[in-house]
Amino acid sequence: MKRRDFIKSSLALSILGTQIPLMALGKTQQTIRRRTGTWDSDRILVLIKMDGGNDGLNSVIPVYDSLYHQARPTLAFDENEALMVTEDSGFHPQMAPFVPIFQNGEMGIIHGVGYPQSNLSHFRSSDIWVTGSPANEIWSSGWLGRLFNNEYPNFPNGAPEHPIAIQFGSANLLEFQSEQTNFATMLFDPEIMYAIVNENYVPGSNDPPPETYGGDELNFVRELDLTTLEYSEEIYNAGQNGNLTVEYPNNNLGDQLAVTAKLISGGLTTPVYRLHIRGFDNHAGQDNAHPQRLNQMSTAISAFLQDLKNQGLDDRVLTVTTSEFGRRVEENGSSGTDHGTSGPIFTFGSTTIGDVFGSQPSLSNLDNNGNLLAEHDFRQVYSTLIEDWFGLDPSISQFVFQDTFDPIPFVSDPLSVTGSPAVPEAFALFPAFPNPFNPATNIRFELPIAAKTSVRIFDIKGREVRTHQLGKLNVGKHDFVLDGRDLSSGVYHIQVETAGSVQSQRVTLLK
């Protein structure tokens, strides 16, 4: 960030920490590429929301299921109309561009993604998907907001040069909301954005805003004003450097994907994009609207994948669709479908495993409202993205969702070991945070094997001032909080000992 002091925060320190594994224990060579909780991969996630609730049953169609045909007298497709891609399922005819992609193994289908006690309101269900909350809890921050907050706790101080996330149009901002801030930059066209922002920027005031709600809002506008100025430059530069190698279809999603490709091609390192395509809430006239939507979506995504491939960027990008819910099994009287529960998620790219995960939902075993039961939880998909795609520690996705969700193996080259629990390579001690500290600091270490562990504190003269026996600890990361309230100011050595290995580091207590 050029116009802001870059604070040497935990972020900078922990990057150093990961590059210096302090000591390796005897461990057989294994391709463990898990990063140690810090975001240092160059991988990019493109999320596409199908707004309104996509009809999964008419996307990946169970053509041989007689219950499907009974429930959909006017809307059903048979095996001759659908584009058969597996033994029991065919794509909607307007999804033709996806057929070769699926056959090439570059499209994954995750069946029955939803959550328990599904909510049939668009707004609640969308919120559940973007916050990652259980259905009966209202969370005020988004899953990506919490994920980024874990990485950039002092944002916008310590923010990366490039936007952390880019959103197009009317996607739901709650997804990138943390308790403190919002990590997304809204965008439609890099050049226009740059010109308008720069021509109209008025240098800010340094006078502190009043300590009132009005002052809070003034702070918000000032922050947005400055961040917009800074990021518009980075986005503009990437847009100038980027290329497109294919023609994108002239529709809204096509435009969004073209800009996305251009920015990735131009070197923008933003790791998450959120795009959206409207119009899937087809209570009436679904036979007209749904095919158009699927056509727009499949032509736009297939152009995007081809473009990335032409530019050699395909191994860095994973594209994933989401939708707030599926539709009711039974069609209504207006050739439409009402709100439902679960539906399929699609994953795209050479980065995904081109397979079908799970099976066509049962149409006989429905909930009380005649809706499908979910086979996968959407948080399983998101946890997989956090752990396997971005290579972050499972403890992070656990923190994000306040629960553990089993990953689904749809990432073709996971940055972590597939199968859990992952075993760390070496005993590692991470830099204490904060440091210098007062009165307490957190000391994080990682064990490759379960072992008895102790933490000893020495003063500058080498006198042992404390010993903490932690007992036998499990494999993985652990945090020890050093409470310095009864210590005097000065430098201390912290020594963590486990299974015959010792790691140490200095911390400074400043009272």
């Binding site: 009132t212 809070d216 409207r278 009436a284 207006s334």
Partner: protein, 541 residues
């Protein structure tokens, strides 16, 4: 540096083809017309819609203490900013000198209905089946133009409003019962709903709810006219409970279905409905053949309910008044509702048989509303930006470039009668992001220069001297910037900001050099106003 960009390209390039096909109805008004209408709408640009949900505001901090009302021009300006699209300087000063009670009375007073946008508002629907395809296309085009005539007419009302809450309250109810013309098709129906908002916006909520529910626009928008005993459609029943009255999680899916059954059998031809407001019932063959006359159990009560019964039962629920008052609180006070105040308002609402006026009167005369904490704690919505500035610059209805302003709203995100969906606009911080904030600044500064940012000039030039002359002493540079700040900023300005404003006006000249009659004065004033309108402080009310 950026390449030079022709903003006309910008406009054409970025107003894409429509993405709102799904808002149109399959068989409305007939299957044949609907097909042509969809095709027509596909070529229309899609507006930008701000995000559905937004920032969670800072939680109420208990240490922030309450103040009692100290009525002065700052308190008056606060009330006027929250109830008008934007106040003028003389309005701020004169109401500050008057009493709070008189000012609130003036703001809340009834207003006459304005002249309608055209004679077409009662035009009956044509015999579609007797028309050729060309005739249909021609009428679709006419209807579409009328929809925008209506939008422009409405936006003009905002820019030339008297000192009254009616325009803001009309917009409030539109946001609450968010209906889009794209689905409704008939401009007559959209006008009818707007007139209902105007007439009942400060009246009785039960009557307002009936008029809206059984009006042609809502019947079309949420499929009541397709809701029949054999093919019930839950759309209206669900939103009635979730968005219009009780709020999510206070009813069951069964209640939604039962409400949908009670609302079967109502119908409209796009202009008239089969609902009789006096007899509170539908009539005619459509009603007899499509209404579900069976027993329904809704929110614990059982009977052969129709739509009016459902509305009555909903209004027996205490939660309804709380839901509505919370929404009023969020629109007029702050994004985080104060439960105690909302409860107070809801009690008044119920005790007064759902009359809206006493609730508003209570709110606008409360200590709470005038608490310093709430000054400037709301983000201007896009219409208060454009229409408010026009009102403050007093450009006159005949000079308002209304089509340009509608175009601007395509980017800022608030075209009236085109909400993103039935949930309306989220508001608050969602209005501002890295697109809309720069667009607001571009709009305001270009307007002061009389330049259309999409190319060309306007037919008028804002009279900044006249604006300055409405202030207390336009010939005193310090008084002038202080008054300008009072006019455009809701928060008191710091010494540093006052210095910046003086710099923007004087560009280094001494304060005593300022002379409003100097030939260079208009340019300097424009610089000052442009500077003000681009400051973050301007985005707050």
């Amino acid at each position: 540096m950026a390449k030079s960009i022709t903003r006309r390209d910008f406009l054409t390039k970025h107003r894409r083809k429509a993405d709102h096909i799904s808002l149109t109805k399959k068989d409305w008004p007939t299957a044949r017309v609907a097909k042509l209408y969809r095709k027509y709408m596909e070529d229309k640009p899609a507006p930008y819609y701000p995000p559905k949900k937004d920032y969670t505001p800072v939680p109420i901090t208990p240490s922030r203490k309450q103040a009692s009302v100290d009525w002065n021009d700052a308190a008056a300006a606060h009330l006027l900013r929250r109830t008008l699209f934007a106040p003028t300087f003389p309005e701020i000063i004169s109401t500050g000198l008057d009493s709070m009670e008189n000012t609130v009375d003036t703001i809340l007073a009834d207003q006459d209905q304005p002249d309608p946008p055209g004679d077409w508002i009662t035009e009956p629907p044509p015999q579609w089946d007797a028309m050729t395809e060309e005739e249909i296309m021609e009428l679709i085009e006419t209807y579409f133009q009328r929809q925008f005539e209506l939008i422009g007419w409405w936006m003009n009302r905002m820019a030339i409003q008297p000192m009254s809450i009616v325009e803001d309250m009309t917009l409030f109810w539109h946001e609450h019962f968010a209906t889009s013309f794209e689905g409704v098709f008939y401009p007559q129906a959209m006008y009818e709903q707007n007139a209902v908002f105007r007439e009942h916006c400060m009246g009785n909520f039960r009557e307002l709810l009936r008029r809206v529910s059984f009006g042609p626009a809502m019947m079309i928008w949420l499929n009541t006219n397709a809701n029949t005993v054999n093919h019930p459609n839950e759309n209206f029943g669900r939103e009635l409970l979730e968005l219009f009255t009780i709020g999510v999680d206070n009813y069951t899916q069964t209640d939604v279905e039962e409400a949908a059954r009670a609302f079967t059998g109502y119908g409209t031809n796009g202009v008239e409905t089969n609902y009789n407001y006096d007899q509170a019932t539908g009539f005619g063959n459509h009603w007899l053949s499509h209404h579900d006359f069976g027993q329904k159990t809704f929110l614990g009560q059982t009977g052969d309910f129709d739509g009016d019964d459902i509305i009555d039962i909903i209004l027996q629920q205490d939660q309804t008044a709380n839901f509505i008052c919370e929404k009023i609180y969020k629109w007029f006070v702050y994004e985080v509702p104060d439960d105690t105040i909302v409860d107070e308002m809801a009690t008044i609402f119920r005790d007064n048989n759902y009359e809206i006026m006493p609730v508003m009167e209570h709110l606008f005369t409360s200590d709470h509303f005038y608490d310093e904490n709430f000054r400037g704690c709301m983000i201007r919505n896009p219409l208060t930006v454009t229409q408010g500035v026009f009102r403050q610059l007093d450009i006159g209805e005949e000079n308002i470039p209304i089509n340009y302003l509608i175009d601007l709203q395509y980017f800022m995100g608030m075209i009236p009668n085109m909400p993103p969906d039935v949930n309306g606009w989220t508001g608050y911080r969602s209005w501002l992001n890295s697109i809309t904030l720069p667009m607001r600044k571009l709009f305001a500064s270009a307007l002061v220069d009389g330049i259309n940012p999409f190319g060309g000039n306007f037919d008028f030039e804002p009279d900044v001297i006249a604006l300055a002359q409405t202030l207390s002493d336009s010939n005193d540079a310090e008084a002038l910037v202080q008054d300008m700040a009072k006019l455009f900023f809701p928060l008191p300005i710091s010494d540093e900001l006052e210095e910046q404003l003086l710099d923007a006006l004087l560009e280094g000249a001494a304060v005593y050099d300022w002379d409003i009659n100097d030939p260079g004065a208009p340019l300097r004033l424009r610089n000052l106003i442009k500077y003000i309108l681009r400051k973050p402080e301007f985005q707050l009310i």
